[in-house]
């Protein structure tokens, strides 16, 4: 009589297999997906608890209780894989950055996946491995997650939502409404890299550009900046809408204006060239590994030094100042010597012919 092998489950076919509706149904199929794919790569002591909710110790900073900072982000980027990254590491970096710009030390991440029926397991494995690498390098584990599957045609392959939690020490207050006339406006490096890398892969706009997304976790550099003791008013990462959108947001929140200097804004030549092709302005193009820092004028050199000492801030530069302005305009002196405003766009910039 043939022996029944107890507990034998055929492993996931990660080469040819695809997501189907059973993977989201809560049954054995889903459990297998989680254990052979998600937990295998993302695994840590908290995820390993295997319960509906993860239990972590109360957050402290230097032995004292701190305030909790929480942030969440939905990631729907297309294409899923692009030069320099993918939706996986992007989702980890993005949420870590949102927590870190508040001055908090990021501690834990949660990740939710909406998978489309038919999505190749090989691609999912690539994405999860990339997330795991990013989380591991950043020292921020994914402690809990969820997976659902939607019918073919109802999702763009995969959507990922990440939520991050961090702890903020007393005395650190960063925010968009704290900015004052006279403050210095600093960026950590070149603008527009991520958006151009994405566009270079989109259909109908394909061109060959040696540009990689700048996706990166900024919490290490931010910790160095905070450690200088400088009077930092606001930190923000200029993602969708680029530098222009973020500065306009801050100007509005603080009720001030800004004066930027075009020549001081770092833009890689390939990015400038790609923008020429499409009629786009790099100031409005997304970044995923860059930081805007606004600090009291007297601390500018200190902050720049800390940034430049870090691999992610080698090209940090002051690009302008905060000024008093009841209309909250962000203005720019052009490389040509004239002046214009850097307006807040209605929607995305569109490539144009004229």
């Amino acid at each position: 009589m043939a022996e029944i092998k107890r507990g034998y489950v055929r492993p996931l076919d990660l080469k040819q297999g695809r997501i189907d509706l059973t993977h989201g149904s809560g049954g054995r199929s889903m459990v297998q997906l989680i254990s052979e794919l998600f937990a295998k790569h993302l695994g840590n002591e908290y995820l390993g608890q295997g319960n509906d909710g993860a239990v972590m110790p109360a957050p402290t900073v230097d032995g004292r209780a701190g305030r909790i900072v929480m942030s969440t982000d939905c990631h729907v980027v297309s294409p899923l894989f692009f030069p320099g990254g993918d939706i996986g590491c992007l989702s980890v970096h993005g949420t870590i950055n949102d927590v870190a710009v508040m001055g908090a030390a990021p501690l834990y991440l949660a990740a939710g996946f909406v998978l489309e029926e038919g999505f190749p397991l090989a691609d999912l494995a690539r994405i999860v491995e990339s997330m795991a690498r990013a989380a591991h390098e950043a020292g921020v584990p994914v402690v809990t997650g969820d997976t659902k599957v939607v019918e073919r045609g109802k999702g763009d392959g995969v959507f990922i939502t990440t939520t991050g939690v961090g702890v903020l020490r007393d005395g650190v207050e960063l925010g968009g409404s704290r900015v004052r006339p006279g403050d210095a406006v600093i960026v950590s490096g070149s603008m527009g890299d991520h958006g151009v890398a994405i566009m270079s892969k989109r259909e109908n706009l394909s061109f060959d550009a040696p540009i990689e997304s700048d996706t990166a976790a900024l919490h290490g550099m931010i910790a160095d900046m905070l450690a200088t003791g400088a009077d930092l008013r606001c930190l923000r990462d200029p993602t969708r809408g680029g530098l222009a959108a973020t500065l306009n947001e801050i100007a509005g929140q603080s009720g001030v204006g800004m004066m930027l200097h075009e020549k001081a804004i770092p833009v890689k030549q390939v990015v400038a060239a790609a923008c020429e092709f499409l009629g786009l302005d790099p100031l409005y193009v997304a970044n995923e590994g860059k930081l805007i820092a606004i600090c009291a004028a007297g601390d500018t050199e200190r902050v720049l030094a800390a940034m430049r000492a870090h691999p992610l801030g080698r090209e940090a530069a002051q690009i302008g100042e905060v000024v008093a302005d009841d209309h909250h305009f962000v203005q720019l002196t052009t490389s040509f010597g004239g002046r214009r405003i850097v307006d807040w766009l209605a929607g995305d910039q569109l490539p144009r012919i004229c």
Partner: protein, 81 residues
């Protein structure tokens, strides 16, 4: 009129196509509207088509003119009452 950029031809292909380069960004475009384009030529590119060749001598002349006009202007300005 319209957004057009000067790009360098780095490869000429079959069927009136070419690969051009601007600042490190490469793109495949159509040469259907021009004749006699060589590698190394600069062309004006608009919506995927090369519209005209750029004349490097004329470009130099124009730049020289800017500089000359500029100098004349600068000295003129200082001489103004």
């Amino acid at each position: 009129m319209c957004l057009a950029i000067p790009v360098k031809v780095i490869e000429v292909g079959a069927d009136d196509t070419a690969i051009v380069d601007l600042g490190g960004v490469k793109k495949e475009i159509s040469l259907a509207l021009l004749a006699d384009v060589q590698v190394g030529d600069y062309v004006i590119l608009h919506v995927g088509y090369a519209l005209t060749k750029l004349d490097p001598e004329e470009a130099e002349k124009t730049l020289a003119l800017f500089a000359e006009l500029g100098e004349a202007g600068a000295s003129g300005a200082t001489a103004a009452p």
